[in-house]
């Protein structure tokens, strides 16, 4: 069946203004232009816990933090080869995100699966930030096409290729989906609530396991990301 309402598509700078972000609605499709840097647990631990100074001028150079390890390699001449890029699940980074906003001034967090609306309201809204989710998951080749160049690689020796801070120049890079808005609402949670209504019927005719597990719940509005 053809989809009736095609999602809206928007080009956005990686140093967006508050006004730019205010226009975005949950479910809008975004393509990015400008510098993006990768930062995940390695970078967060080094910057937020060990207090090491950031190796680039944030957010002036970029306000877009990608939860990503690229499929990339460093050539013998020091140049970079980057094939595909895909996000990693963001909920694991919630514990650092408040401090990270303070250090980096990020306004776009790009990743997989989003965070909770509680995280959005606590950390994102006060920092004028929104969350963009990658699509699929696994549109790595499409996102790879949106990389105009690899600018530099920070903390490669300290963190290894997968955890290092890659700085990439994006041109019409996407698609991404707007997962959180300026009020801290979550698209995933909105969808979960719609699906939950159907679950009781789907579970009809099944029964709980004879042997229980500690911490187990039958509340199907629960999420594994906490």
């Amino acid at each position: 069946m053809e989809s009736s309402a095609k999602p809206k598509q928007i080009r956005l700078s990686t140093t967006p203004s508050v006004e730019d972000l205010a226009k975005l609605k949950l479910g809008d499709i975004v393509y990015l232009d400008g510098l993006i840097y990768t930062a995940r647990e390695g970078v967060y631990m080094r910057a937020c816990e060990e207090g090491v100074a950031l190796p680039m001028d944030l957010p002036a150079e970029s306000a877009a933090n990608f939860h990503c390890s690229p499929a990339a390699t460093v050539n013998e001449d020091g140049s970079f080869k980057m094939g595909a890029v895909t996000a990693t699940a963001s909920f694991r980074f919630a514990k650092w995100i408040g401090e990270w906003f303070r250090l980096s001034g990020a306004r776009l967090i790009i990743g997989k699966g989003g965070m909770t609306s509680r995280d959005y309201k606590t950390h994102f809204v006060p920092n004028n930030a929104i969350y963009l989710t990658t699509v699929g998951y696994g549109t790595g080749a499409l996102l790879g096409r949106g990389i105009k160049s690899v600018k530099t690689l920070h903390w490669r020796k300290e963190l290894g290729l997968a955890q290092a801070m890659w700085v990439i120049e994006a041109e019409n890079m996407g698609p991404f989906i707007v997962e959180s808005d300026r009020d801290g609402n979550s698209l995933f949670e909105r969808e979960n609530a719609k699906i939950a209504k159907n679950l009781e019927r789907v579970y009809e005719g099944t029964k709980p396991a004879v042997l229980k597990r500690f911490g187990e719940t039958d509340d199907r509005s629960d999420e594994v990301i906490g």
């Binding site: 690229p70 699509v135 699929g136 005719g205 396991a209 594994v224 990301i225």
Partner: protein, 320 residues
């Protein structure tokens, strides 16, 4: 005798094919899934994925930035001989994994679990996994490269005979709903289910059911085949589509494999082979021919053999 150089070269090509070319059976399955999806956002996601597979092939770049954990399945005909023996074979597969990780490139995902040491080549202690199977006839070796992605979507549970099919369904739904939210399982997926064996064997069976059987294949036991159909439909009736958006695209296919288990138990594992269901296969013959394909054809009658050629001792058969 199969030359070791041929094994290494072929293994590098398989790494490349697995990372870049989505297997035809999965692609056809996903197109069918996309054709009936009516959720707007889920539809958008599926169309983007279909474009992504094309982009990967056109550009010869990995289809997904998380290129997963490369692993090998090796199946040998009983008459196959490898230059240098099994140790040389394993060394060749490890070298090919490292070389291909650099050349394609793949993401160097493999690290030490505690010290997070990364060799930047996807090789380390126990990595890549190499598993073996054998067939009664033939001088050939099948090399199967699987790039298995995903930290989510897999679970194990000890069920019991009293849980029955209703309990199996419950755990199946629990796994899909828990990991389907926000699309953590990267669905729609090939869902592999392992039933029986022991805990480790059950996990191995389920993973092989997901990774080594094609979309549209059915278990040779017609009653299990019927369950596969039923579970596929059940999964797609949850109301959840790609990325956990409203829709009906959870399961591209459901494959079930079983092994005999303890009389008191009924082990169950669930595995999701994701939107990047990456596998590539080659048969290497003794005369140097190499045939590439995407169907591992792992679960032959021999792999599912149920009994043994055996004459029960006389006194036991008398008393039976």
């Amino acid at each position: 005798m199969i030359p070791i150089k041929l094994i290494e070269e072929t293994a590098e090509k398989l790494m490349d094919k697995a990372a870049i070319e989505i297997p035809e059976d999965y692609l056809d399955g996903l197109k069918t899934t996309a054709s009936v999806e009516d959720g707007d956002l889920s539809s958008f996601v599926l169309q983007a994925m279909l474009e992504n597979y094309e982009a990967a092939k056109e550009d010869r770049r990995a289809m997904c930035g998380d290129t997963g954990c490369p692993r090998w399945y090796v199946k040998m005909g009983n008459e196959a001989r490898i230059e240098g023996g099994p140790v040389a074979l394993e060394a060749a597969l490890r070298r090919a994994t490292a070389q291909a990780t650099h050349d394609i490139p793949l993401r160097p995902n493999r690290v030490h679990p505690l010290w997070r040491t990364d060799h930047d080549n996807n090789v380390g202690i126990g990595a890549p996994e190499i598993e073996y199977g054998f067939e009664p006839d033939g001088e050939w070796v099948d090399l199967i490269a699987v790039h298995k992605g995903g930290l989510f979507g897999t679970d194990y549970r000890m069920l019991f005979p009293s849980d029955g099919i209703a309990g199996i369904k419950r755990f199946f739904l629990d796994s899909l709903v828990a990991f389907g939210k926000r699309g953590l399982a990267c669905q729609p997926a090939i869902i592999g289910i392992g039933l029986g064996g022991s805990k480790d064997a059950c996990m191995v069976l389920g993973k092989r059911a997901a990774c080594l059987r094609t979309v549209g294949s059915r278990n040779s036991d017609p009653r299990i085949a019927a369950l596969e159909d039923e579970f596929k439909e059940l999964g797609n009736s949850i109301g959840m589509g790609a990325m956990g958006f409203v829709g009906k695209s959870m399961v591209v296919d459901c494959n079930i494999e079983v092994g005999y288990c303890h009389t008191g138990g009924m082990q169950m594992s669930v595995h999701a082979f994701c939107l990047s269901s990456r596998r590539a296969v080659a048969r290497l013959h003794a005369d140097g021919r190499v045939e590439f394909r995407t169907d591992p054809d792992w679960f032959t009658d021999y792999q599912r053999r149920e009994t043994v050629e055996w004459n029960p001792p006389q006194n036991q058969s008398k008393s039976a």
